[in-house]
């Protein structure tokens, strides 16, 4: 079957079978995903994740109330799913955590190991989060880029995940906000009988597309500035992406839950947030499609996906916007997980939700201000569940607010968690992402016992 992709092979075979539905097609066992295929999905919760939004306390409500009032706290109630040691999860994450009670690990007081004097500027903290060590604006090498340099498939799906900063890469990694709109031939040259308006329609669009590809494929015999060289590299990736995405989106790879990603759950009541859900869930659908494609192709591949959900800078509207964001996160991830289970790849895919910093311990009346430590969490079929790190007793919070500039401390470095995942789940040395001398500077924090196997 040299030079014929499995998708084409299957499609051709099916054409011969006539009326068999593609979506009901039973995947032959010989196409089962390779043992070596592993994925990591990094979900950046941008704006600064409040530890008490995702994981509220289930006791001492009066203390939290005195620190924050009603505007910035999830009140203790019997509906809160408890995950132990006085911690619960936001109702929006309840379904996800219920399903994955033993497959989600919560990491307390997470922070960046290299943001030494924790800067609470969004931009600086985000830069640390993206680069994983190098906070300098002019130094654009990121941990994801280094993985890409070493053969790990890297895909970004919108937002700040675009900032892969992969200057070392021969070609930029694939960064696409929305697979569905990634069609270069979808151009609007008009057709009309009126000579004043006719622009040649689709034929001309195709022709122009060919010309653009050709212009990009040659090496012009003129001087090319470094910036233009970067531009041309990215253009090349664009054309390659257009080809590969059209294949990923093929109906052959439709997953079982494909249609459901577009259905806004009842818990997301606001139209603004409904739009965000659709866009965010669609990214997970695209990842599921991609994983399905890999499975069909029988490819053994290690892939890192990066996507982001913004809006966590909740200086105000903490409760209303925070609830919606948690509902979006929980609903889309739960759907994705269900899809992966049906695909049989649940154990191969691990997701980490992370942020650039946390929020203040006390409220500001409407929300919370910038802080330091936040809570991250990891989920997936291969995760050994539980809470990791020091859970701060609510009674200590008032003192902590004074001692630590009104912020949760950092105890577990984000980079250490990533190294754990890379090494234990992906089978990749953490020193590839964080080479020396970075590697040695990332604090060790005991045995995470992160994975089941």
């Amino acid at each position: 079957m040299k030079n014929i992709s499995r998708r084409k092979f299957i499609a051709n075979s099916l054409a011969g079978l006539g009326a068999i539905s593609l979506t009901n097609f039973n995947i032959p066992s010989s196409f089962a995903i390779s043992e070596g295929s592993k994925s990591l999905i990094v979900v950046q919760l941008l704006g600064g994740l409040d530890p008490l939004l995702a994981f509220p306390y289930t006791k001492d409500d009066n203390i939290i109330n005195s620190l924050r009032g009603n505007a910035a706290r999830i009140p203790v109630s019997s509906n809160l799913l408890q995950i132990g040691n006085g911690l619960g999860v936001h109702p929006g994450l309840k379904d996800l955590f219920s399903t994955y009670s033993d497959s989600t690990k919560v990491m307390m007081q997470t922070g960046n190991a290299f943001n030494l004097s924790p800067n609470r500027s969004h931009e600086i903290a985000t830069r640390y989060m993206l680069t994983g060590g190098y906070g300098n604006f002019s130094d654009r090498y990121a941990w994801t880029g280094r993985l890409y340099d070493n053969g790990i498939n890297l895909q970004g799906l919108g937002g700040d995940s675009m900032a892969f900063n992969c200057l070392t890469c021969a070609n930029p990694p694939l960064t696409v906000a929305n697979y569905e709109s990634f069609d270069i031939s979808d151009s609007s040259f008009s057709t009309s009988n009126n000579k004043d308006f006719d622009q040649g329609g689709l034929k001309n669009a195709k022709h122009v597309g060919q010309v653009l590809r050709k212009l990009n494929s040659i090496t012009p015999d003129r001087k090319i500035s470094p910036v233009e060289a970067e531009y041309r590299k990215a253009q090349k990736t664009m054309f390659q992406a257009a080809d590969s995405i059209s294949e990923i989106l093929s109906p052959v790879y439709r997953t079982s839950k494909y249609e459901e990603y577009a259905v806004v759950p009842a818990s997301i009541t606001d139209t603004h947030f409904a739009g965000i859900f659709k866009s965010f869930a669609q990214k997970f659908r695209n990842i599921a499609q991609k994983l399905n494609q890999l499975k069909f192709a029988g490819k053994s591949e290690k892939t890192v996906f990066v996507l982001s959900l913004g809006g966590f800078d909740l200086h105000d509207n903490w409760r209303t916007s925070g609830d919606m964001l948690m509902n979006i996160l929980g609903a889309s991830m739960k759907l994705f997980r269900d899809d992966l289970r049906i695909l049989g790849v649940d154990e191969d895919v691990m997701t980490i939700c992370t942020s650039e910093f946390g929020r203040s311990i006390t409220g500001n009346g409407k929300g919370t201000d910038h802080g330091i430590g936040y809570t991250s969490f990891v989920s997936g079929g291969n995760v050994r569940g539980g809470v990791y790190g020091n859970i701060i007793n609510p009674a200590e919070l008032e003192n902590l607010a004074k001692k630590n500039d009104n912020a949760w401390p950092r105890e577990i470095s984000q980079e250490r968690i990533l190294i754990e995942i890379l090494e234990k789940h992906m089978g990749i040395s953490g020193s590839i992402a964080f080479p020396s001398p970075l590697f040695e500077k990332i604090p060790v924090y005991g045995d995470f016992s992160l994975t089941r196997k």
């Binding site: 941008l46 800067n119 609470r120 969004h122 604006f137 002019s138 700040d160 675009m162 892969f164 930029p172 694939l174 960064t175 696409v176 929305n178 990634f182 270069i184 979808d186 151009s187 609007s188 000579k195 004043d196 308006f197 006719d198 622009q199 040649g200 001309n204 195709k206 022709h207 122009v208 060919q210 653009l212 050709k214 212009l215 040659i218 012009p220 015999d221 003129r222 500035s225 910036v227 233009e228 970067e230 531009y231 041309r232 990215a234 253009q235 990736t237 664009m238 992406a241 257009a242 913004g310 800078d313 200086h315 105000d316 500001n364 009346g365 409407k366 929300g367 201000d369 910038h370 500039d405």
Partner: protein
Amino acid sequence: MIEGAAVFSATSSKADYLCLEQESKVIAGKLMNKGKKFLPYREMKSKQILKLKLKLKAEVLITKKTKFKNKIKFIKSTINTALTACAAESERRKLPEIECKISLINSDISLTENEVREIEIASTANCSSELNFSVNSPAQHGSAYMDAGKLFYKAGYGNFADSFTIMACHESPHVCSSPATINITSFGSDFVGRVDKLEKYRNKISYKEARHLINKLALNDFSILSDDLKLEDGYNLEAIVNKLLDPYLVSADLKEQLQIFRDGGIIKDGVTPSIMRPLPDAWGRRFFQASTPLESALDQYKAFESFQHEFFKGYNPNIDVLHYGGNYTSHAVLASSKYLSPTWELLTNIWYGHFGTALHDFNGDYDGYYVRNYMDIISKNALGNFKTMMLGVNPKNCLSQTVESISPDTNPPDRGVLCDAASQAWLSNHENTYYSKNQNFARELMELYLLGPNDLVTGNPNYSEQDVVAATGYMSGYKKITYQSTRNYSLDPQRVITREEIVWDPARHDFTEYTAFKGMPFEISGSVDPVKFVEHIFDNHPGLPRFIAGKLFRMLIYTNPSDEMLAALAARFKQSDFSIADLIYSIATSEAMFSEAAYQPTCIKSPLVTISETLRNFEIPLYGNNVHQSPTAHIFNSTLSSNSRMATALSKLGERPLMYDTVFSYKYCGRNPNQIGEDWLSAQYLLQRTKTLIDHITYAGWSNNSYFHFTDIFEKIPEAAESIYNITPSVIIKYYNKVYNIELSESEYDIIYKYLTSKLDDSDVAAPYGWNPSDKQLMNEKLAGLTTIYASMSQTNIN
């Protein structure tokens, strides 16, 4: 192109052999049994000998008991012995006089950008075969180097004068001639400014330099280079810059656009628009009276400003007012970028991104006042005064509008960004009180508006977390109120609507005596109000002028100015009391502006700039000619929604003017040092860029409301004046090259030429088709495609 002539002549007439370091080491080492460094004897002073005392202590074979003066005596004696021996050796090895003359063979050289050329050196016969050459001091714009005994010069970007020095050296014994300078002189003398120098450049600039200026500072609108700016063999730099700084400079096609609004359409090419009549009173009076003058640029500016203001006031009888959010606001920004002064608009858009608001954060979305007011503050001060933009003409207005002073019938007094409703609401400062602190505004005031997190020159933090706490207290005291107003901008002047406004409420202000910038020369403490705090930063904090001036320079000229350049810019900015116009004038007329660093492309253009440039260059209108579709459907109903596709496109590209998703606004080139634009040129951004360009370019040519046809471009091509058949594919390509300010390689030219003369067959293979300028359908197709191709090319999208 670099053209140059260089003459090199050097004679080494005498080998003046010195007691060089190496020989000194050998001789002194023999005497002292150690190889310590010695200076050549002619350069050695007695003091230096004394200084050697401690260094040589270990090597000198004398005991600790030896008296100090004896130690010195011994050292002097030892060294003198060494030097005497060295001098004797020098005399013994003295070379005979050499008469060796070297010169350049190719004294006239002509180089293109980045080209490498050997500079051939000839020497007279009596030169020793051991003669070598080396580059002594490097070239400034290109690079000079020796390779396998040959001298090479590699040109940089631009057309620069350059110089470097070389030396001729005899190997053994080692002796060199004095350095000889090679001058690469540029006949055109383009871009000979020194990098990072704010000193004034010459006033007469070349056409290429003038285009560079327009490319950098005026949205590539080359129509600005009118004949009155010309000098003999060049352009008047001062005059061009003054023109760019003119707030009332409008685009050439604005008048026609305004005539459509005023007159209900215009007769074009003998064709009367489908509906052409004066605007019905109810509508017409809202925009222009039939007598609205449109003759002078000032008239047109005022008429456009009025139009933009009305745009935000509401026009639709069904909803009374326009919902300004989202695409409509972007559209208004795009309209200004297309028709008003390109430099003012470029700066306006930079400031929109700098302050980074999102206007939907204010709940009064039925009232365009907030949008209009915010846009006025920015656009009127964009090339005015930064301090005024921040604080308003009268800073006290930020403290004088209170609940009591609000009038239902009059507008609030003019205020700066500091207490403007849109900014306050965007960053939650109206919720910042003495009893409930909200740090959002205070933090971003320092990080985004005034200082940046770290000083651009020293790298030190400009403020601390404690300063954020203090500033939050200082900035507290504003409040959002709701009241009933007849100031509603609707058609019914009696109608009362509910409005929101930001007012100063001292009862909410935190009068705690905080200290900010503790321990710094610009420390401030006490009970401080918002105006006093911001004025204090302007007057005392050194980070402000560096941050603002540095940011503007990086975004406009090149992304990595030196610390010295930043310091010079900051000093100038501060000295002018924060005049943006003065700063831009200094930059635009500086050597740095016309240096290699400025000429070399460093930026990916922002989506708004890319789209505006194309609209300007081809005079593609934003609104159609037959604007009145029906008595109840106004121009906006018929054209705005469809034209907002361009604003939608901006949004898809990640740039949503005044509707930013985060405080970072858009990732503009130069926003941070060395940032070239989007953090990474992702496939997604490029695809959107390409599709967007196709979308808005082709739409302009087929919209029913449009009065633009691609064949209109022919009118701008001089060759067409005589006969349309003079428009050949190569003439068209030449014209597009000029409009887009790019140079095609031969291979690129061939691909584009082939596109113009072929079409796809049924198998989607390009087959020869031919070219005929009288075939309107073919021309429409080819020019729509060609414009798309050019707009998508990498050269067009970088600056």
